[in-house]
Amino acid sequence: MNSITNEAPLKAEARNLSFYYGNFQALKNINMPIYEKKVTSLIGPSGCGKSTYLRCFNRMHDLYPGNRYEGAIDFHPDHTDLLSKKVDPIEVRMRISMVFQKPNPFPKSIYENVAYGLRVRGESARSVIDDKVEAALRGAALWGEVKDRLKELGANLSGGQQQRLCIARALATDPELMLFDEPTSALDPIATASIEELISELKEKVTILIVTHNMQQAARISDYTAYMYIGEMVEFGVTDQIFIKPKRKETEDYITGRFG
């Protein structure tokens, strides 16, 4: 399933990226490419920094005091440095959307949940919003289940549906890159399977970076995989290669379950 063409264009590139929570260095000098319209997964034991790394891409760390970035994330095709102090984090978040670990629909209607990104962008034409909400819900494979109950609260949906609602919300604004932070860890196996299937479909349209605690999931859905350990990027490569023939001993130990 992981058809890789080596000439896949770059969407983003982390260069010498380090990150500090106050004095604690959580990420150490990470260099990593992210290829356009591919799924790249980040794996590694708890606390290895994979979520911290993911949250650099939409500058989520800017919300809390004492956080500091070093290095750069070069975002293609315009070569904006996502981490630059000159780049407004809001601009970054307008281009890069995120789906969280626990489904976090707003306590608003299903419709308003999906429409929120558009409203933030000042879109007020009802017909435009209607169309984009429908397209996003279809894209998130949720339209059939909710099309007759768009006015109901998002929280009334099941856990898996809520997560797909959050994906629709992240999808509605046509992001260039979507970040998924362990999107299935709070879901049952059936809901997990539907989200995985959805992610595999989404990469037709959008670049995806996903953190997962589940190696089988990484193997199933991603084209590229990065193994992280204590803030460092141990190995990055094509998923098949990482899982079948890892170059580094640490990666092999983790993947075969001897460690972690």
């Binding site: 809001i90 976090n104 990104g117 933030v120 009334n156 992240a170």
Partner: protein
Amino acid sequence: MNQQELQNLRSMIVAHKRWDYLFGVLGILALMLGLMTFVALFSDMAVNGLARINVEFLTSFPSRRAANAGILSAWVGSVLVMVVTAFAAVPLGVAAGVYLEEYAPKNWVTDIIEINVSNLAGVPSIIYGLLALGLFVYTFGLGQSILTAGLTLALLILPVVIVATREAIRGIPQIIREGAYACGATTWQVVSDHIVPYASAGILTGVIIGMARAIGETAPIITVGALTFIAFLPTAPFTGEPPAGLFDWLFAPFTVMPIQMFNWTSRPEAAFLNNAAAAGFILVLMTLTMNGLAIWLRYRLRKNIKW
């Protein structure tokens, strides 16, 4: 475990459970003491005052004859003062609470402000009266008016509104905030689209509880110069002397329920004491209604908020 050990174990459990029982009884007694005091007070007022409560009592001005006296000017005054209090305290308190939770940088200045907001809640109400007398009455020249009284009580309940706002905001999960920021929202968009709407149940509850406290306040209102005997109502909008405006009533002299009660209890005739009891009964009903409203609103608003 043999029979003897089992016996010992069981008697030990029985002995320990005695404390459960004892504390339960003690707790009920403590509760009853508080509740019964209120019930006794309330029923005493009801017994003495209920006979006086009728339509005339609510629609008459105070009078030298106890049988003719009513609380029209007092309850209208209380309601109008509360309206001013709400319109002043809610925007200020909510803005301050939102600022402290969502905007303020975490540093020592913010810490000092936070500590002093809690301190404000403990300042005796008469001090607010003195402040208002100096500031609103003399410095700003607002007079001994409904506006002055409303603003004074607004200051008094401001800490309550701020604290309620902050508590309500803290109840919103961080992940909801992050979800909104991740959509590209600015702090103001997060506050106006999410934080304030989701916190509104808690804020409203705090506001109403603060108002229920304010409606019974006497000391600061006397300090700013409320009248104790007043036989006319504030001018309705556009009916006063030209140029009559919408807000003439703000500058009208007034009295409020607790002051009317105090006035009557200090009279020698026993009949006025019944009037005071009747007014007290109605004042308690007003506060109970407000508290009931707070509970109902909280229930209604929370129904649509699920995380």
